[in-house]
Assembly symmetry: C2
Homo-oligomer: 226 residues x 2
Protein backbone atom coordinates (compact mmCIF):
# COMPACT_ATOMS: atom_id res chain seq x y z
CA UNK A 1 0.00 0.00 0.00
CA UNK A 2 2.82 2.38 0.86
CA UNK A 3 4.27 2.13 -2.64
CA UNK A 4 0.92 3.01 -4.22
CA UNK A 5 0.60 6.13 -2.11
CA UNK A 6 4.10 7.23 -3.01
CA UNK A 7 3.47 6.52 -6.69
CA UNK A 8 0.31 8.60 -6.86
CA UNK A 9 2.00 11.49 -5.07
CA UNK A 10 4.90 11.25 -7.52
CA UNK A 11 2.56 11.19 -10.53
CA UNK A 12 0.65 14.28 -9.41
CA UNK A 13 3.97 15.98 -8.70
CA UNK A 14 5.33 15.15 -12.18
CA UNK A 15 2.36 16.78 -13.94
CA UNK A 16 2.89 20.05 -12.07
CA UNK A 17 6.63 19.82 -12.69
CA UNK A 18 5.98 19.71 -16.44
CA UNK A 19 3.91 22.89 -16.18
CA UNK A 20 6.74 24.53 -14.27
CA UNK A 21 9.20 23.55 -16.98
CA UNK A 22 6.92 25.13 -19.61
CA UNK A 23 6.78 28.32 -17.58
CA UNK A 24 10.58 28.54 -17.27
CA UNK A 25 10.95 27.89 -21.02
CA UNK A 26 8.45 30.64 -21.81
CA UNK A 27 10.45 33.14 -19.72
CA UNK A 28 13.84 31.79 -20.88
CA UNK A 29 14.85 31.31 -17.28
CA UNK A 30 17.20 28.43 -16.53
CA UNK A 31 16.04 26.62 -13.39
CA UNK A 32 18.55 24.68 -11.28
CA UNK A 33 17.65 22.39 -8.38
CA UNK A 34 20.45 22.22 -5.76
CA UNK A 35 20.38 18.99 -3.75
CA UNK A 36 22.60 17.79 -0.90
CA UNK A 37 22.78 16.95 2.79
CA UNK A 38 22.38 19.81 5.25
CA UNK A 39 25.62 21.72 5.59
CA UNK A 40 27.27 20.93 2.27
CA UNK A 41 27.50 24.64 1.52
CA UNK A 42 24.57 25.27 -0.84
CA UNK A 43 23.76 28.75 0.50
CA UNK A 44 27.40 29.86 0.60
CA UNK A 45 27.88 28.68 -2.98
CA UNK A 46 24.77 30.55 -4.10
CA UNK A 47 25.81 33.80 -2.37
CA UNK A 48 29.06 33.80 -4.32
CA UNK A 49 27.60 32.46 -7.57
CA UNK A 50 24.81 35.00 -7.84
CA UNK A 51 27.26 37.84 -7.16
CA UNK A 52 29.73 36.54 -9.75
CA UNK A 53 27.02 36.33 -12.43
CA UNK A 54 25.97 39.95 -11.90
CA UNK A 55 25.51 42.44 -13.42
CA UNK A 56 25.25 40.69 -16.78
CA UNK A 57 22.97 37.95 -15.48
CA UNK A 58 20.32 38.19 -12.78
CA UNK A 59 19.07 35.43 -10.48
CA UNK A 60 16.01 34.70 -8.42
CA UNK A 61 16.00 32.07 -5.68
CA UNK A 62 13.53 29.73 -4.00
CA UNK A 63 14.84 28.27 -0.74
CA UNK A 64 13.35 25.31 1.13
CA UNK A 65 13.93 24.71 4.83
CA UNK A 66 11.78 23.16 7.53
CA UNK A 67 11.81 26.40 9.51
CA UNK A 68 13.39 29.89 9.63
CA UNK A 69 14.17 32.33 6.83
CA UNK A 70 17.89 32.33 7.56
CA UNK A 71 18.96 31.20 4.08
CA UNK A 72 16.64 33.68 2.37
CA UNK A 73 18.00 36.46 4.59
CA UNK A 74 21.53 35.55 3.54
CA UNK A 75 20.68 35.43 -0.18
CA UNK A 76 18.51 38.56 -0.31
CA UNK A 77 21.42 41.03 -0.67
CA UNK A 78 22.72 39.11 -3.69
CA UNK A 79 19.68 37.93 -5.60
CA UNK A 80 17.09 39.88 -7.59
CA UNK A 81 14.38 38.33 -5.42
CA UNK A 82 14.19 35.44 -2.96
CA UNK A 83 11.28 33.31 -1.74
CA UNK A 84 11.63 31.12 1.35
CA UNK A 85 9.40 28.06 1.62
CA UNK A 86 9.08 26.56 5.10
CA UNK A 87 8.19 22.91 4.63
CA UNK A 88 7.35 22.16 8.27
CA UNK A 89 7.67 18.38 8.46
CA UNK A 90 8.51 17.68 4.81
CA UNK A 91 12.06 16.66 3.90
CA UNK A 92 11.91 17.93 0.31
CA UNK A 93 10.19 20.49 -1.93
CA UNK A 94 7.19 19.57 -4.11
CA UNK A 95 6.53 20.90 -7.63
CA UNK A 96 3.33 22.63 -6.48
CA UNK A 97 5.32 24.71 -3.99
CA UNK A 98 7.58 25.83 -6.85
CA UNK A 99 4.52 26.58 -9.04
CA UNK A 100 3.04 28.81 -6.33
CA UNK A 101 6.29 30.62 -5.59
CA UNK A 102 7.30 31.06 -9.24
CA UNK A 103 4.02 32.86 -9.94
CA UNK A 104 5.13 35.73 -7.70
CA UNK A 105 8.76 35.87 -8.81
CA UNK A 106 9.91 38.25 -11.61
CA UNK A 107 10.92 35.49 -14.03
CA UNK A 108 10.89 38.04 -16.86
CA UNK A 109 13.91 39.66 -15.18
CA UNK A 110 15.72 36.47 -14.20
CA UNK A 111 18.32 34.60 -16.20
CA UNK A 112 18.57 31.93 -13.53
CA UNK A 113 16.20 30.47 -10.96
CA UNK A 114 18.18 28.69 -8.26
CA UNK A 115 16.08 26.32 -6.16
CA UNK A 116 17.88 25.42 -2.93
CA UNK A 117 16.13 22.25 -1.85
CA UNK A 118 15.71 21.05 1.77
CA UNK A 119 18.99 19.56 3.01
CA UNK A 120 18.52 15.83 2.41
CA UNK A 121 20.39 13.37 0.21
CA UNK A 122 17.39 11.17 -0.54
CA UNK A 123 13.91 12.46 -1.40
CA UNK A 124 14.85 15.73 -3.18
CA UNK A 125 16.38 13.51 -5.86
CA UNK A 126 13.06 11.72 -6.40
CA UNK A 127 10.74 14.73 -6.83
CA UNK A 128 10.93 16.59 -10.13
CA UNK A 129 10.33 20.32 -9.59
CA UNK A 130 10.38 21.21 -13.29
CA UNK A 131 14.00 22.33 -13.13
CA UNK A 132 16.24 22.20 -16.20
CA UNK A 133 19.27 20.96 -14.31
CA UNK A 134 19.95 19.11 -11.07
CA UNK A 135 23.08 20.07 -9.11
CA UNK A 136 24.26 17.54 -6.50
CA UNK A 137 26.69 18.68 -3.80
CA UNK A 138 28.76 16.46 -1.51
CA UNK A 139 30.89 18.03 1.19
CA UNK A 140 34.10 16.07 1.68
CA UNK A 141 33.41 16.28 5.46
CA UNK A 142 30.52 13.84 4.98
CA UNK A 143 32.89 11.01 4.11
CA UNK A 144 33.94 9.03 1.05
CA UNK A 145 31.32 6.28 1.47
CA UNK A 146 28.27 8.46 0.82
CA UNK A 147 27.97 8.08 -2.95
CA UNK A 148 27.50 4.31 -2.78
CA UNK A 149 25.19 4.47 0.25
CA UNK A 150 23.00 7.33 -1.02
CA UNK A 151 23.09 6.92 -4.80
CA UNK A 152 19.76 8.62 -5.64
CA UNK A 153 20.96 12.17 -6.22
CA UNK A 154 24.20 11.14 -7.92
CA UNK A 155 22.30 9.06 -10.48
CA UNK A 156 20.10 11.95 -11.57
CA UNK A 157 22.56 14.86 -11.24
CA UNK A 158 23.57 16.97 -14.25
CA UNK A 159 26.64 18.13 -12.36
CA UNK A 160 28.28 16.95 -9.12
CA UNK A 161 30.20 19.36 -6.89
CA UNK A 162 32.59 18.11 -4.22
CA UNK A 163 32.59 21.00 -1.74
CA UNK A 164 34.74 22.26 1.17
CA UNK A 165 37.88 21.18 -0.74
CA UNK A 166 39.92 23.58 1.44
CA UNK A 167 39.65 20.93 4.20
CA UNK A 168 41.13 18.12 2.07
CA UNK A 169 44.35 18.01 4.11
CA UNK A 170 42.62 17.57 7.49
CA UNK A 171 39.93 15.07 6.43
CA UNK A 172 40.36 11.38 5.60
CA UNK A 173 38.81 11.27 2.15
CA UNK A 174 39.58 8.74 -0.57
CA UNK A 175 39.05 10.77 -3.76
CA UNK A 176 39.66 7.81 -6.09
CA UNK A 177 36.96 5.78 -4.34
CA UNK A 178 34.44 8.61 -4.63
CA UNK A 179 35.21 9.25 -8.29
CA UNK A 180 34.92 5.56 -9.05
CA UNK A 181 31.61 5.26 -7.14
CA UNK A 182 30.22 8.28 -8.99
CA UNK A 183 31.19 6.94 -12.40
CA UNK A 184 29.39 3.65 -11.69
CA UNK A 185 26.16 5.65 -11.25
CA UNK A 186 26.59 8.49 -13.70
CA UNK A 187 29.02 8.68 -16.63
CA UNK A 188 27.83 12.01 -18.00
CA UNK A 189 27.76 14.58 -15.20
CA UNK A 190 30.87 16.74 -14.81
CA UNK A 191 32.53 16.33 -11.40
CA UNK A 192 33.99 19.56 -10.01
CA UNK A 193 36.08 20.08 -6.89
CA UNK A 194 35.03 23.31 -5.24
CA UNK A 195 35.93 25.48 -2.29
CA UNK A 196 34.19 28.80 -1.97
CA UNK A 197 36.60 29.67 0.87
CA UNK A 198 39.76 29.17 -1.23
CA UNK A 199 38.03 29.86 -4.60
CA UNK A 200 39.07 26.42 -5.91
CA UNK A 201 37.08 25.40 -8.98
CA UNK A 202 34.81 28.41 -8.78
CA UNK A 203 35.51 29.85 -12.27
CA UNK A 204 34.92 26.47 -13.83
CA UNK A 205 31.49 26.25 -12.13
CA UNK A 206 30.49 29.72 -13.35
CA UNK A 207 31.60 28.82 -16.88
CA UNK A 208 29.51 25.64 -16.75
CA UNK A 209 26.43 27.66 -15.69
CA UNK A 210 26.90 30.13 -18.52
CA UNK A 211 27.47 27.41 -21.11
CA UNK A 212 24.36 25.58 -19.95
CA UNK A 213 22.33 28.77 -20.12
CA UNK A 214 23.38 29.41 -23.70
CA UNK A 215 22.80 25.83 -24.82
CA UNK A 216 19.41 25.46 -23.13
CA UNK A 217 17.73 28.81 -23.85
CA UNK A 218 19.89 30.06 -26.71
CA UNK A 219 20.88 33.39 -25.15
CA UNK A 220 23.68 34.36 -22.81
CA UNK A 221 21.69 36.92 -20.86
CA UNK A 222 18.34 38.67 -21.04
CA UNK A 223 19.65 42.16 -20.71
CA UNK A 224 23.09 42.49 -22.23
CA UNK A 225 25.15 45.30 -20.75
CA UNK A 226 25.69 48.34 -22.95
CA UNK B 1 -5.01 15.24 1.17
CA UNK B 2 -1.28 14.85 1.61
CA UNK B 3 -1.58 15.43 5.36
CA UNK B 4 -4.18 12.68 5.68
CA UNK B 5 -1.97 10.18 3.91
CA UNK B 6 0.98 11.06 6.11
CA UNK B 7 -1.17 10.87 9.24
CA UNK B 8 -2.47 7.40 8.46
CA UNK B 9 1.02 6.13 7.68
CA UNK B 10 2.23 7.59 10.98
CA UNK B 11 -0.65 6.02 12.92
CA UNK B 12 -0.01 2.55 11.51
CA UNK B 13 3.68 3.01 12.23
CA UNK B 14 3.01 4.02 15.85
CA UNK B 15 1.02 0.87 16.59
CA UNK B 16 3.86 -1.35 15.40
CA UNK B 17 6.36 0.80 17.32
CA UNK B 18 4.44 0.13 20.55
CA UNK B 19 4.71 -3.62 19.91
CA UNK B 20 8.44 -3.23 19.34
CA UNK B 21 8.77 -1.38 22.64
CA UNK B 22 6.97 -4.23 24.43
CA UNK B 23 9.34 -6.72 22.85
CA UNK B 24 12.42 -4.79 23.96
CA UNK B 25 11.00 -4.48 27.50
CA UNK B 26 10.34 -8.20 27.63
CA UNK B 27 13.97 -8.95 26.70
CA UNK B 28 15.37 -6.13 28.87
CA UNK B 29 17.17 -4.77 25.84
CA UNK B 30 17.65 -1.00 25.67
CA UNK B 31 16.94 0.23 22.13
CA UNK B 32 18.53 3.44 20.87
CA UNK B 33 17.65 5.17 17.59
CA UNK B 34 20.62 7.15 16.17
CA UNK B 35 19.53 10.01 13.94
CA UNK B 36 21.57 12.54 11.96
CA UNK B 37 22.59 13.76 8.52
CA UNK B 38 24.72 11.46 6.43
CA UNK B 39 28.35 11.66 7.50
CA UNK B 40 27.98 12.86 11.09
CA UNK B 41 29.91 9.83 12.28
CA UNK B 42 27.18 7.42 13.47
CA UNK B 43 28.96 4.27 12.33
CA UNK B 44 32.34 5.33 13.68
CA UNK B 45 30.77 6.18 17.04
CA UNK B 46 29.03 2.78 17.15
CA UNK B 47 32.21 0.86 16.29
CA UNK B 48 33.96 2.42 19.27
CA UNK B 49 30.94 2.36 21.60
CA UNK B 50 30.13 -1.31 21.12
CA UNK B 51 33.79 -2.25 21.70
CA UNK B 52 34.00 -0.12 24.84
CA UNK B 53 30.87 -1.73 26.32
CA UNK B 54 32.26 -5.25 25.86
CA UNK B 55 32.73 -7.75 27.38
CA UNK B 56 30.33 -6.81 30.19
CA UNK B 57 27.59 -5.63 27.85
CA UNK B 58 26.72 -6.97 24.40
CA UNK B 59 25.09 -5.11 21.53
CA UNK B 60 23.12 -5.94 18.43
CA UNK B 61 22.67 -3.46 15.61
CA UNK B 62 20.14 -2.66 12.89
CA UNK B 63 21.51 -0.36 10.18
CA UNK B 64 19.44 1.49 7.59
CA UNK B 65 20.89 2.72 4.32
CA UNK B 66 19.40 3.14 0.85
CA UNK B 67 21.91 0.70 -0.61
CA UNK B 68 25.06 -1.32 0.24
CA UNK B 69 25.97 -3.23 3.39
CA UNK B 70 29.06 -1.12 4.09
CA UNK B 71 27.97 0.00 7.56
CA UNK B 72 26.95 -3.51 8.57
CA UNK B 73 30.30 -4.82 7.32
CA UNK B 74 32.09 -2.26 9.48
CA UNK B 75 30.04 -3.05 12.59
CA UNK B 76 30.07 -6.86 12.25
CA UNK B 77 33.48 -7.36 13.94
CA UNK B 78 32.31 -5.38 16.99
CA UNK B 79 28.67 -6.30 17.53
CA UNK B 80 27.06 -9.56 18.63
CA UNK B 81 24.96 -9.50 15.47
CA UNK B 82 24.13 -6.93 12.80
CA UNK B 83 21.22 -6.60 10.38
CA UNK B 84 21.41 -4.24 7.41
CA UNK B 85 18.14 -2.89 6.01
CA UNK B 86 18.34 -1.43 2.50
CA UNK B 87 15.50 1.07 2.20
CA UNK B 88 15.78 1.63 -1.56
CA UNK B 89 14.01 4.96 -2.04
CA UNK B 90 12.95 5.60 1.57
CA UNK B 91 14.75 8.28 3.59
CA UNK B 92 14.02 6.73 7.01
CA UNK B 93 13.31 3.42 8.72
CA UNK B 94 9.74 2.30 9.57
CA UNK B 95 8.70 0.44 12.71
CA UNK B 96 7.64 -2.61 10.66
CA UNK B 97 11.18 -2.97 9.32
CA UNK B 98 12.46 -3.00 12.91
CA UNK B 99 9.78 -5.53 13.92
CA UNK B 100 10.85 -7.88 11.13
CA UNK B 101 14.57 -7.53 11.83
CA UNK B 102 14.24 -7.76 15.62
CA UNK B 103 12.50 -11.13 15.28
CA UNK B 104 15.71 -12.67 13.94
CA UNK B 105 18.14 -10.93 16.29
CA UNK B 106 19.29 -12.59 19.57
CA UNK B 107 17.67 -10.00 21.88
CA UNK B 108 18.01 -12.46 24.77
CA UNK B 109 21.78 -11.98 24.50
CA UNK B 110 21.76 -8.23 23.88
CA UNK B 111 21.98 -5.47 26.48
CA UNK B 112 21.67 -2.82 23.77
CA UNK B 113 20.02 -2.60 20.38
CA UNK B 114 21.53 0.26 18.40
CA UNK B 115 19.43 1.31 15.42
CA UNK B 116 21.45 3.41 12.99
CA UNK B 117 18.79 5.20 10.98
CA UNK B 118 19.13 6.39 7.38
CA UNK B 119 21.24 9.55 7.24
CA UNK B 120 18.62 12.32 7.20
CA UNK B 121 17.89 15.14 9.63
CA UNK B 122 14.15 15.25 9.00
CA UNK B 123 11.92 12.16 8.68
CA UNK B 124 13.77 9.77 11.04
CA UNK B 125 12.74 12.16 13.83
CA UNK B 126 9.06 11.75 12.91
CA UNK B 127 8.80 7.94 12.82
CA UNK B 128 8.78 6.12 16.15
CA UNK B 129 10.54 2.76 15.84
CA UNK B 130 9.72 1.64 19.38
CA UNK B 131 13.13 2.68 20.67
CA UNK B 132 13.64 3.68 24.31
CA UNK B 133 15.94 6.57 23.53
CA UNK B 134 16.61 8.85 20.57
CA UNK B 135 20.20 9.98 20.00
CA UNK B 136 20.67 13.03 17.72
CA UNK B 137 24.09 13.73 16.22
CA UNK B 138 25.28 16.95 14.61
CA UNK B 139 28.72 17.13 13.06
CA UNK B 140 30.26 20.55 13.55
CA UNK B 141 31.22 20.45 9.83
CA UNK B 142 27.54 20.84 8.96
CA UNK B 143 27.46 24.39 10.31
CA UNK B 144 26.05 26.25 13.29
CA UNK B 145 22.72 27.14 11.63
CA UNK B 146 21.38 23.58 11.37
CA UNK B 147 19.58 23.31 14.72
CA UNK B 148 17.22 26.20 13.96
CA UNK B 149 16.67 25.15 10.35
CA UNK B 150 16.11 21.45 11.05
CA UNK B 151 14.57 21.41 14.54
CA UNK B 152 12.69 18.07 14.28
CA UNK B 153 15.34 15.72 15.65
CA UNK B 154 16.60 18.15 18.29
CA UNK B 155 13.09 18.55 19.73
CA UNK B 156 12.62 14.82 20.27
CA UNK B 157 16.18 13.79 21.19
CA UNK B 158 17.02 12.25 24.57
CA UNK B 159 20.67 13.18 24.06
CA UNK B 160 22.42 15.42 21.54
CA UNK B 161 26.00 14.72 20.44
CA UNK B 162 28.09 17.37 18.70
CA UNK B 163 30.57 15.25 16.73
CA UNK B 164 33.92 15.74 14.97
CA UNK B 165 35.02 18.12 17.73
CA UNK B 166 38.67 17.50 16.74
CA UNK B 167 38.00 19.85 13.78
CA UNK B 168 36.81 22.75 15.96
CA UNK B 169 39.92 24.84 15.24
CA UNK B 170 39.61 24.65 11.44
CA UNK B 171 35.82 25.12 11.17
CA UNK B 172 33.83 28.32 11.68
CA UNK B 173 31.34 27.17 14.30
CA UNK B 174 29.56 29.39 16.81
CA UNK B 175 29.10 27.05 19.79
CA UNK B 176 27.10 29.58 21.82
CA UNK B 177 24.60 29.98 19.01
CA UNK B 178 24.13 26.22 18.68
CA UNK B 179 23.74 25.69 22.42
CA UNK B 180 21.23 28.51 22.60
CA UNK B 181 19.26 27.16 19.60
CA UNK B 182 19.20 23.68 21.14
CA UNK B 183 17.93 24.95 24.51
CA UNK B 184 15.05 26.78 22.81
CA UNK B 185 13.87 23.41 21.47
CA UNK B 186 14.86 21.00 24.21
CA UNK B 187 15.74 21.83 27.82
CA UNK B 188 16.17 18.26 29.03
CA UNK B 189 18.53 16.42 26.71
CA UNK B 190 22.20 16.38 27.71
CA UNK B 191 24.47 18.00 25.12
CA UNK B 192 27.84 16.29 24.73
CA UNK B 193 30.84 17.34 22.65
CA UNK B 194 32.40 14.26 21.11
CA UNK B 195 35.33 13.31 18.96
CA UNK B 196 35.96 9.64 18.40
CA UNK B 197 39.27 10.56 16.75
CA UNK B 198 40.63 12.47 19.77
CA UNK B 199 38.49 10.56 22.35
CA UNK B 200 36.91 13.83 23.54
CA UNK B 201 33.74 13.24 25.55
CA UNK B 202 33.74 9.53 24.89
CA UNK B 203 33.80 8.31 28.51
CA UNK B 204 30.93 10.63 29.37
CA UNK B 205 28.84 9.11 26.54
CA UNK B 206 29.54 5.54 27.68
CA UNK B 207 28.61 6.50 31.24
CA UNK B 208 25.33 8.00 30.02
CA UNK B 209 24.50 4.77 28.14
CA UNK B 210 25.17 2.65 31.21
CA UNK B 211 23.18 4.94 33.51
CA UNK B 212 20.24 4.90 31.11
CA UNK B 213 20.39 1.12 30.89
CA UNK B 214 20.25 0.77 34.66
CA UNK B 215 17.44 3.30 35.08
CA UNK B 216 15.30 1.91 32.25
CA UNK B 217 15.60 -1.85 32.70
CA UNK B 218 16.90 -2.06 36.26
CA UNK B 219 20.02 -4.07 35.53
CA UNK B 220 23.51 -3.10 34.49
CA UNK B 221 24.11 -6.09 32.26
CA UNK B 222 22.46 -9.38 31.40
CA UNK B 223 25.49 -11.54 31.98
CA UNK B 224 27.75 -10.11 34.64
CA UNK B 225 31.36 -11.22 34.28
CA UNK B 226 32.60 -13.69 36.88
Amino acid sequence: MKVNVVKSVLKANDLIAENNRDLFRQYRTVALNLISSPGSGKTTLLERTISALKPAQQSVVIVGDLETSRDADRLQPHAYEVTQINTGLSCHLYANQIAQSARDLPLDQADYLFIENVGNMVCPGEFDLGENLKVALLSICEGDDKVAKYPTIFRVADIILLTKMDLIDVIDFDMDRVQSDIRKLNQEAPLMKISVKSCTGFDEWIQWLQDKRESSVGVKAKFVET
